[in-house]
């Protein structure tokens, strides 16, 4: 494996020469130049200036073969020479003009003529009597991309050892071999030994047999065979950089076919770029292979140590810490990160320091237990101060990502502790401005997630969902796969809340398969699918199935489990227990969660949710009044923190309590006031619940009115109407139990109204539902 030069680079040089000879007609200049530039420029620059017409260039193979050149050049006619000849012909003529190892040397020696001369050289030439080059030639500036490429190629060729130059020549001969047939057809002048002048000249003298033998000795016996030596270290490094960047950007693993290709390439060369270890590390990390990733990380830094000294020690530590944390070794992770902080301070590496502090902050948020033991609180002070510190630091050092993420963190902190929504908005807008200004595509994910969750808390679930869709539609291409996954799950959640389980499932199923090979993402994905199915089972009252799923889901909720998912699973567990009418365990679970939350200072929304659940539990156990204080507290917190959907749920609980206290009028008034706004939240289970409370209230009102009075009748009619509404919501959710309940209520009302036939009908419908559910379960 050579360092830089490959046959395809020789091809590019020849193409550049064609261009400088003005053989390229004006109309085809742009495609050809962009073709060459696409090969020369580093991928980072390319990705920034992605234009619409470069799609054809992107489909090029990594190692240019002759076909790539042919498809490009055959379409353009040559500006000079015989009419009817395409640039492809000219190009081949150039390639086959290199007819010996010596010609290759000369080819490279002549590259210097393509460059514009410096004034001193011009002067020297003038003294020597060499005329200045003709005006027709396009001379390349020494500092242009082309000029740089030519100079680099020349230098690289000069420093090749003979055997390497020879290897280049042989692989070049192999590379162009496939065009031989075409050349013969076109020019008819190429003999058997075309491509090597020595053989061609010698044939007369030696005779064909001896010549063939010499050819075999010189070139080996597979000149027509596939060439695998055409990769240079430079190419591989470029490729690795690209791959690592991709992996870091999207958090994916290497696709199988790419990995196999890599293996093939790296096996060929003696020198394996150290970056490949890093790539292996990333891959193993994503694959959840702890020992391998650890090993490879160390290997990478062992190999890079020699040329970069100890400068990068803090980065090594940082990588180590992140890795440790990812695999659940939190103590080690914290220790490593603290070391990173001190090393970065020592080396005055502000970027690294800020990143480490940021990471520590987030880590502390996620795992307060581990951070408490260490003295990190001294390092960052109180949470908020820490964030402010980070923000100002980021501003000073120009780390825009960190700045915006600290703004978002601040917004999140405010939100989770139930503070002013306006402040949260302010922070988000600031961060948004920053992101747009600095074109930080990678930060789009957190920003959108924050907006989405804020709107969700404010009860505008439509907007919240729309944010998710916008992200998936517009920004997913540039973002981590984790973000994409989370947004997809969120949408699935919205869908599930509306009872569209199949669609939600489909949403998850359609995720990119390769990205799901990443271990963490895969776990998340699996769990989320489990949650969706669990929800469905619970609604369908398929408690055995739910039990099975729950036992699996609860098992995997260890320390390393995602906190959001953990909470969701716990809620569902409580729901399951309630449906099993195992109220005492449900209560115990709620109490457990609540106390844990109080300790960790978790998101206020979750706490309110628990309170509401508790109130609901009291109701289920037949003692709604006991939940009064809880419900009121929930309502007041929710109101203060503007947790709108939870507020309605809490108000519903209060209304229910009022019902139980026979304050039907008040209950009905509350419910009538909140239901329209609750509908906005698009949470069908809550809607159904509220409607059924309303039915209860009206029923109570009807009961209070005189028998046969208009008021009673009116209330009963309302009851029926709301029962239908509730029934619709329940059936959308496929909630059998709710449906049955509503049917039963309806049948009772009919009986009260005195329509036994209808009552009978509804009763039989009730039985049908039950039967159906039983059938579905079986």
């Amino acid at each position: 494996m050579t360092r830089f030069l490959t046959p395809s680079k020789i091809g590019l040089l020849a193409l550049i020469e064609l261009y400088t000879e003005a053989a390229v007609p004006v109309t085809s200049t742009i495609p050809i130049l962009s073709f060459v530039l696409n090969q020369l420029l580093p991928s980072t620059i390319k990705s920034q200036s992605r234009s619409s017409n470069s799609s054809s260039l992107e489909s090029l193979p990594f190692l240019l073969d002759l076909h790539a050149f042919e498809t490009l050049l055959a379409a353009h006619s040559s500006a000079a020479g015989l009419p009817g000849r395409t640039l492809w012909d000219k190009f081949l003529q150039k390639l086959w003009g290199i007819d010996s190892l010596n010609a290759l040397h000369e080819f490279f020696a002549n590259r210097a003529f393509l460059l514009a001369k410096s004034p001193e050289e011009m002067k020297k030439d003038g003294e020597m009597g060499i005329p200045p080059p003709s005006q027709d030639m396009i001379l390349l500036s020494r500092t242009s991309p082309f000029g740089g490429f030519i100079r680099r190629a020349k230098v690289e060729f000069d420093r090749l050892r003979f055997s390497d130059a020879l290897a280049l020549w042989i692989s070049f001969a192999k590379w162009r071999q496939e065009s031989k047939v075409y050349c013969i057809r076109r020019n008819g002048a190429l003999g058997r030994w075309a491509g090597d002048r020595a053989l061609e000249d010698g044939e007369e003298e030696w005779g064909p047999e001896a010549t063939e033998m010499l050819e075999l000795v010189a070139y080996g016996n597979d000149l027509d065979g596939v060439d695998d030596g055409a990769v240079s270290t430079d190419d591989v490094e470029k490729l690795l950089e690209f791959q690592v960047e991709q992996m870091q950007k999207f958090g994916n693993r290497i696709p199988y076919e790419v990995r196999d290709k890599f293996k093939g390439i790296l096996e060929g060369g003696v020198t394996v770029p150290s970056l490949s270890h890093y790539q292996n590390f990333l891959d193993a990390w994503r694959a959840g292979d702890y020992p391998t990733s650890f090993d490879n990380l160390h290997r990478y830094f062992d190999y890079t140590m020699q040329n970069r000294d100890r400068l990068f020690y803090q980065y090594a530590l940082m990588n180590l810490a992140v890795l440790q944390a990812d695999f659940g070794c939190f103590e080690e992770a914290v220790a490593a990160m603290l070391e990173t902080v001190s090393t970065a301070r020592e080396n005055k590496d502000m970027a690294c320091l800020n990143f480490a502090l940021n990471w520590l902050y987030h880590f502390g948020k996620a795992h307060p237990k581990f951070i408490r033991g260490s003295e990190s609180t001294n390092m960052l002070g109180v949470e908020r101060e820490g964030l402010v510190f980070l923000r100002t630091k980021a501003k000073e050092t120009g780390m825009w990502t960190l700045w915006s993420s600290s703004l978002l963190s601040e917004a999140k902190l405010g939100m989770s502790s139930g503070e002013s929504i306006a402040t949260a908005f302010e922070n988000m807008v600031k961060s948004s401005q920053l992101i747009v200004e600095r074109n930080m595509k990678s930060m789009m994910g957190p920003q959108m997630a924050m907006s989405s969750s804020l709107w969700g808390r404010l009860g505008v679930s439509h907007l919240s969902k729309e944010y998710c869709e916008v992200f998936l539609g517009c920004h997913a291409r540039y973002a981590l796969f984790d973000d994409t996954l989370r947004f997809s799950c969120r949408i699935a959640q919205f869908l599930a809340e509306k009872g569209q389980y199949d669609e939600a499932m489909k949403r998850l199923e359609s995720m990119d398969e390769n990205s799901l090979r990443s271990w963490k993402a895969n776990q998340y994905w699996l769990k989320y699918r489990g949650i969706l199915r669990l929800k469905r089972d619970l609604h369908r009252n398929n408690l055995d199935g739910a039990d099975q799923l729950l036992s699996q889901l609860l098992q995997s909720s260890g320390v390393d489990a995602d906190p959001d998912l953990g909470f969701e699973i716990n809620i569902l567990h409580i729901d399951y227990l309630i449906r099993r009418t195992d109220f005492s365990r449900a209560l115990a679970k709620i109490e457990n969660l609540a106390s844990a939350m109080k300790e960790e200072g978790d998101d206020i929304a979750l706490r309110v949710k628990l309170l509401v659940l508790k109130a609901g539990l009291q109701d289920k156990s037949g003692r709604p009044q006991k939940g009064f204080s809880v419900a009121v507290r929930a309502a007041s917190i929710a109101w203060r923190a503007r947790l709108i959907p939870l507020l309605w749920a809490a108000m519903g609980a209060i209304a229910n309590i009022l019902n139980s206290l026979s304050e039907f009028q008040a209950a009905a008034q509350i419910l009538v006031a909140i239901i329209p706004r609750a509908l906005e939240c698009e949470t069908f289970s809550m809607n159904a619940q509220l409607y059924s409370y309303l039915v209860d209230a009206h029923m109570g009102l009807a009961g209070k009115a005189d028998a046969g009075s208009l008021k009673r009748k009116e209330n009963l009619t309302r009851c029926l109407e709301f029962i239908d509404r509730a029934f619709d919501e329940y059936s959308a959710l496929e909630d059998i139990k709710g449906q049955c309940e509503m049917m039963a209520k309806k049948a009772t009302i009919m009986k009260v109204v005195g329509e036994p036939v209808l009552a009978n009908d509804y009763a039989s419908k009730y039985l049908d539902l039950k039967k159906e559910a039983a059938l579905a379960q079986a």
């Binding site: 007819d99 010996s100 190892l101 010596n102 010609a103 040397h105 000369e106 020696a109 000069d158 003979f162 055997s163 020879l166 020549w169 090597d196 002048r197 020595a198 053989l199 000249d201 010698g202 003298e205 030696w206 005779g207 001896a210 010549t211 033998m213 010499l214 000795v217 010189a218 070139y219 080996g220």
Partner: protein
Amino acid sequence: MPLTEQDTAQLRAALQEAVVKCSERCLYQSAKWAAELLTSIPPTDEASEPEDSQMTEIPPDGLPPIVVTGNLDPEEAQLEAKEINQYLLAKSFFDCREFDRCAAVFLPDTVLSGILSSTSTRGPENATATTPKGKGKARVSSGRSASKLAPILPKLSQKSIFLALYAKYMSGEKKKDEDSEMVMGPHDGGNTTNKQLVTISRFLENWFREHTTEAGEVVGSQGWLEYLYGMVLTKDKNEEEAMRWLIRSVHLYPWNWGCWLEMTSLIGRVEDLNRISPHLPQNIVSFFFHLHTSLELYQSTPNLSNSLDQLLSIFPTSPFLLTCLALLAYHIKDFLAADAHFSNLLALHPHRLDSLDHYSNILYVMNLRPKLSFLAHLCSTVDKFRPESCVVIGNYYSLLSSHEKAVQYFRRALTLDRSCLSAWTLMGHEYVELKNTHAAIESYRRAVDVNRRDYRAWYGLGQTYEVLEMHAYALWYYKRAAGLRPWDGKMWMAVGSCLQKMGRDIEGIKALKRALLADSYYDAGVGSSFGSGGRDKGGAMDPEVLLQIAGMYERMEDMGEAKLTWRYSQSSDDESRPTGGGTSGDTGTGVTAATSKARMWLAKFAMRMGDYTRAMQLATELCQDGVEVEEAKALVREVRVRLEIGGGDA
């Protein structure tokens, strides 16, 4: 030299035996040489023997034992049979390059050290007993109590002794290579020696003493130990003695090519060769030797090519002989023929790298870049760690003017083999190109130390000193080069111009005249090899040289001679002038800067002498030539004025 069927068979048998015997003694290069020769005998195509005739040589009772040959001497045979197991062990050690271990199988270190100490204790006695030639290394006249004083030598067969001592020698060589510094490094004086030589020579000395009869005959010796002794003596610079032993060896066993090569390396001049020839055995190998040595001495007599042709008729495809043929052509500067021969050789033996470095020199001189690049390609593919390959590659880089790289490759060649002569010389050339005169001088010097017959190195040394303006030194080296190549005009020219610069005009003129003579000699040679080619310009002389000579005469104020020479010089394009442009390239040299200069001088001289018409004629000619037109025109004007004045006077 037609051979009968029987002779051929005999020859073949002898060669087969030689291959086996040489490889038994781990003389691989000699074995290779013999085997190459063996396969180049054309098979006799008799109708009755459809299968490969070489197979028919095999006795009916199966293949000859390749591993071990028998010995004709019954005593030796018995010993060999007894030692067969140890021998096989030692041989395999040698093959694994564990030389010390190999030697220790037969001659444990105690025995060897015993030999060393015993000889050193009887130092004074030894001094009295030595023959006048050697310093303690020559043989003791064996009549007296030698057997009592000599240490007890183990009773071993000669083959085993040879193998053991040769292994010792090789081990010494290996150590020497390991001890020596980087090529041309600060401590690389080229003076590391093989430390085992003393032991070996002592041992052999004793052995020969034991086996020598009163008449000076070594009883039962088979030639191999003599060869080894000769080799050791060569390394000790005891060349007379070495030659004696080597000659003795080839008498006893002529098919050991390595021995002949050692002899070649000891012969520095043709006279030496002629002196030695009568003492040599008269057989075909001796013939080979004569040919090879003559070539090494840059001889190129028709006699030589004749004998080469004879040998070729026996071994038509022998790569060795084909190489000789090419070298012969190279030495008479017939590059085209040499190229053709080598090219032919390449086609016949594409994997053979030997002496391709000479081919690369030829291609270098002919400036055939693609061919040279192909040759380098081929060599590098076959084996890139052979000195020959490295030299070829170095030559190629030199042709591309990447002198640093060239030096690097020559250096590599030297690291692989320090006695690689051409690499030293070529490296010197590269250093000259790089203007590193000190390094250049050192490399040339090393080349000369390796082989005193290399005229290019001598010449290079002279050139380098000339660059440094140390003419006396340069002259000395040029003279050495000229002595080696008496018929090469370039050498004499160098000598001449050097003398000129030192102000020794008479000698300089002599040397330059000799150069002119030599040039015409070689040109004649070329002409003959081309048959009726169009280059029969035997009489033409290089105008540059003539110019130089004329300059010197002028300085000596010998105007008559000077004028004569100038005229010669000018006339070398005169011949072509009348015939016009059509044939001007064929005869004479045409108009060159030199002839124009000569014409100018003559014109001015004619002016001074007052021969204005002649001056006028020459000046107008000069105007036609188109060289130095301005000056010529000025001259014409002046002549015209003078003529007018002269006319006025008259």
